[in-house]
Each structure stands twice: as C-alpha cells, then as structure tokens.
Amino acid sequence: MAITEPKLWTIERELWVENRLGLHARPVAKIATAAQQFDADITLEKDGLVVNARDLLDVLALDCPQGTRLVLRTRGPQAREAATSITSLFARKFEET
C-alpha cells in the first residue's frame, strides 16, 4: 500500500477537533473506517506525534480532546479523495455536537 513515488504530492490539511467529547471511540472509528477505503497513506499529526489514521488505538492514544489541532497528511493515488473524506468528517463534527 505504501506509495512512495516522488512525483506524488502530499496533501496537508490543518484540522481542529470541534466536537465536545473530542476524538473518542466513535469519531476515531469513523476516521479509521474512512481511511481504510482509500488507496493512500493517511497520517494524523499532533504536536509532532504522527500516527496512521487507520490504526484506531494509535489515534485514540493521541489524546485529542475538543480544541486539539491536528495535521492530516495524505499521499498516494487516492490522496485527494481521502483528504476530502476525512476533512469533511471533522467539518461535520462526526455528526456530533
């Protein structure tokens, strides 16, 4: 799955955790499920810590309460689609409050 062709761009987006409960189980499950659908490397970074968005427990362990800033990076054939999908999850606050 790892696509490392130099020509491929890495898409980088800044994301903010806006839902009240932060990245608890359900949002993280949604991220992981979404991430698994695309042919792309998808990572999330918080304060220099980078995890694979597919690794649910790693994302949980990033410890992201409301107000956390994250950097999303996607790379690979479906990098754009992956970025759009995950960004919109954050934008819709994971259908939470």
Binding site: G22, H24, T33, N52, D55, L56, L60, A61, D63
Partner: protein
Amino acid sequence: MTRKNRVLEGIAASPGIVMGLAHVLTQEGQVSTRLLYTDHEVAEELKRFNRAVDQTEEELTRLRGEIAQDLKEHAHILELHLLILRDRMLLLETQKLIKEQNFNAERALYLAFLKIKEVFQRIGDKHIRGRIQDVEAVYRRLRGHLTGRGASKTFEFPEPVVIVARDLSPAETTHMSSSQVLGFVTERGGKTSHTAIIAHSLEIPAVVGLDSATLSIESGEEVIVNGLSGRVIVNPDEAMRRSYQVRREEFETFKWEVTLGSSLPAWTSDRHPILVLANIEQPDEVSLAQKYGADGVGLYRTEFLYLRQRQLPTEEELFQHYRQVVEAMAPREVTIRTLDIGGDKFLSPLEYAPEMNPALGLRAIRFCLKEQKIFRTQVKAILRASALGKVRVMFPLISSPRELNEARLLLESVKEELARELIPFDGKLPVGAMIEVPAAVTLADLLGREADFFSIGTNDLIQYALAIDRSNKSVADMYEPLHPAVMRMVRHVVQVSRKLGIRVAMCGEMAGDPLYIPVLLGLGVKEFSMNPNSIPVVKRVIRMTSLGEATKVARRALALATVEEVNEYVNKEMDHRFPDIFRFGRPLVANRVL
C-alpha cells in the same frame, strides 16, 4: 515432585514471612503459560491465534447482524470492537510476541493488551482513556476463543496459597482475602504498587519486582515468601524450613513488642523524654498517626490541595483541611509547613516555565514571597486553624534572615487583617524556620533571633550539602545521611538552638530510620518527625537507648574523618546493640506504603 530449591531476589513490599504452595497466575483467570521451543510450535501457535481472531470476528459480525435497527448504539460498539480486533497494537503485537519471544498465544495476547493499557493510562482525557474498556472487552472475547469458554474467573482454592503473578490489578485483588491468600509474589511493581498496598491492608507479606517470577515458579511448588528481605525460596529443604520457622517466630515477637509499646511515651533508658511526631499529608492520615502513637504532627505537608486540582484552593477549603487535622490531634501539637513547591508544579493556571534545575529554583518560601496572594490565603487559613488547637507554622527552604523576616511580616499583616475582621486566631502562634539549606545552618544564630523553633529537613539538607541528587542513579549511593559534613551541621544547629533556648526538631527520612536514631539522640536531637508507620519501631529504639551512651557514640562518630568509617562504626555499634533492627526494624519501616 521433588525439585531443587532455588532462592529468588525481589523487592520487599509488605513485611512478614510466610510459607505455602504457589499458585501462578498470568491473568485474571487461570491461563497456562509456556515457552515454545521449535519453529513448528511457533507456527502452530500463530495458526491457533489467527483462528481465534477469525472466530472472534465472525462472532462480532454475527452479533452485529442480529441487532435490531432500533438498537443502533449497540451496533456502533460492535463495529468499534471489530476495528480494535484488527488493530495493529493488538494483533501485530501479539503475533510479534509469539514469533520473537516464543510466548504462547494467551501470554502474548495478555502482554499486548497490557501494553495498550499502559499507553491508555497516559491519556489525559477521561473519556478517551475510558475506551480501554472496549479494548478489554475485545481482549476478553478473543481470549475466550483462544482458551475455550468457561475459564474460571474468581479465586477459589482448596487451601490458602501464595499468589504468583506478573502484576495484580485492583480488579484482580478484589476477590482475594487473607483467608485464601498467604502472600504475593509479582514480577512488576515497586514498594508503592497496587500489590504492595493490598498486601499491607491484608497484612500479608509481599515480594514485588521479581523478574520472571511466573516463569521460574510453578503452581503447586512450595515457597517461602520473605517480605522483609525480598527473598523468595522455592522448594526449601529441611534446614531452610527450620530457619524459616525460627525467623517467623522471632519476627512475630518483635512485631508484638513494637506494637505493644507504640502508644506509650518515648523515654530513653536513662529517663530523658523524646518527642516522636508524625509526618502527614492529608487529614485522613491523622488516624494513622494516632494509631501508631504519635506525640503530635511534626510536619504537615500542605502541597496536596494545590496539586490535586486545576483551580487554586480557596481559603475556606484550606481551613477545612487544617481544622480537621488540628481538631483531631488536639491537645497535641500540629506543625504546619507552608507550601513547599515550585511554580512549575502547579496544575492551576499559574504560568511558570519548567525549570532546568528545580531543586535550586523558584520554590517553597521563594515562590510564596513572590506569589504573595497565594501565600496570604494559606497563612490566613493556618491562622484561623490556630484558634482550634495547638498549631505551629514553619517556612520551608529559608536561606537568609531577610526571607524569614519578610515571611513574618506578611504573617503579622494577615493577623491584623483577621483581627479587624474579628476572626479568632492564636496571637502567639510559634513561627519556625526549616533548616534545609547549608546557608541556613551557618546563619542559624541569626535565624534563631527571628524564629521560635527550627526543624531540620534532612532530605534537602543532605542533597544540598553533598550536592547529590538522589533520583540520579549514578550518584544515589553517595547520598549519605551519616556524612561527617551532615553530622557537623546537625550538631551546629542543635548547639545554636540550645544557646538561644529554642526547640529544634528533625523531619525527613533520616529522622524515621531506626538506624540513625541513637546517633541523632547523641547529637542532641530530641524531637523526631517521621512517617507514621516508623513511629513504633523508632520508639522502641529510643527506649532501648541511653542518652549517655548515645552521646558517646555520636562523639566517636564525629571524630571519624570519612563517611565510610562512620558507616562502619555505626553499623557495627547498632548491630551489636540492636540486632533485630537490621533484620526486622528497618525492613518494617522501609515499607512506607501506608
């Protein structure tokens, strides 16, 4: 089964000596552990594990399908569990442990789970941290498929056993009682681990931190657990059993004698009264201080309320805490130490950068004189409590008369404020300086003019005098309470306070270690403050010491040039006079869990 006897070394975590049959646990239920020896075995084990994963997945998928549409919440959880089941941290880690460590699947899975648990314990957010429950649910389901259903979960043994485990969690120990468990041996943990605490409350011996205990001891083997020395003997021979019996009886006698005398005042054998006081941190520790026969509280540490919560404590909150202690201890004296903390330690919104060298930084009285609002609030609460019993206040880390003077002035202005508000307080509240900076030792005569009493804080004084950071492993063994420099400092402070006619106490670990008590008595210290559980043993040592003899011992120790000579001399002297101090007294005191 006659196997060779073996002696294993761990950390003594709960005092006592016991013999019984081992019962080895690797997790909550009873799961076998074994090492895999051949590549074939490893391959088979991986297959077995992967099969269990598949079965768990099928089960979860089936459950999800059976859920009615209106129970969507539950479906979400099952989806989450499916994701966790295939997560790298659980799946790959278990496979890795099977392949690389040759552990059987149950053990590998358990270790992988524990590792996740550790990661989650560090998570700050409560909700997110709580998701470990889901990981645990998946873990249990998977383990069920691995070992077959119906694995026993509670502890029921035909006779009391010694529990041998990797580690024990609160959940695992809730079902255990002292009628079923003789002692604990665990691979993990230190003196303050959960196992140690439980063992203390059940009053059974425990040895922790014993590497690979669950691998080197087998269920059904006979073991002697010595919670005083940290030693575990597996399959003892006849001679070992006999010496075990003798040891056990001696220890029980010692404990009985110590407990018996703890409520009586401590006088030296030549009839000099000595005060034995308690160090406490929270109001509920007063009961411990009383149980162990403290003559008062010599050091009430007040940091707890500031570290526990994000907001600074209010005056009323502080007052309520202090009042509980003061009222409960009355008519005995309570010495309250004002905040001894650095600005960087606060949970509250105070913004101080972390310090490179906090021991030498902005802390204790320096911090309080800078953050006067915080300090005034505390001083006010202490003064209010002083109306309700016998209270003394002392300031930590004093290094100059100016600091002490400034603190006193602040105290006086708070008094005026209270007087204006017609709130009662003790107008003659004694004010003390802690002597824990070498500068304070040399200036003791000047400080003594401003102070009503001294309290020598040995932990910091030794650290500063010898320039030793005890948490730094490479120099920790150079932390020497009996260093000639330290002894001379103590003697100097005692002599100055005698001349000025003010009281001097000693708090800090040295003051609660029975080994040092006679020397300190000989140097002229007459008040000792310590962790409550040290009190009975220290009182016993005091009663068995004559001040005249102790003075001679101290004089000889002071005449020696090096700390090695001092240690050798004092150890020999103590071993000769109090042989049971080394075998029982110090180990009993060293377990400062409660």
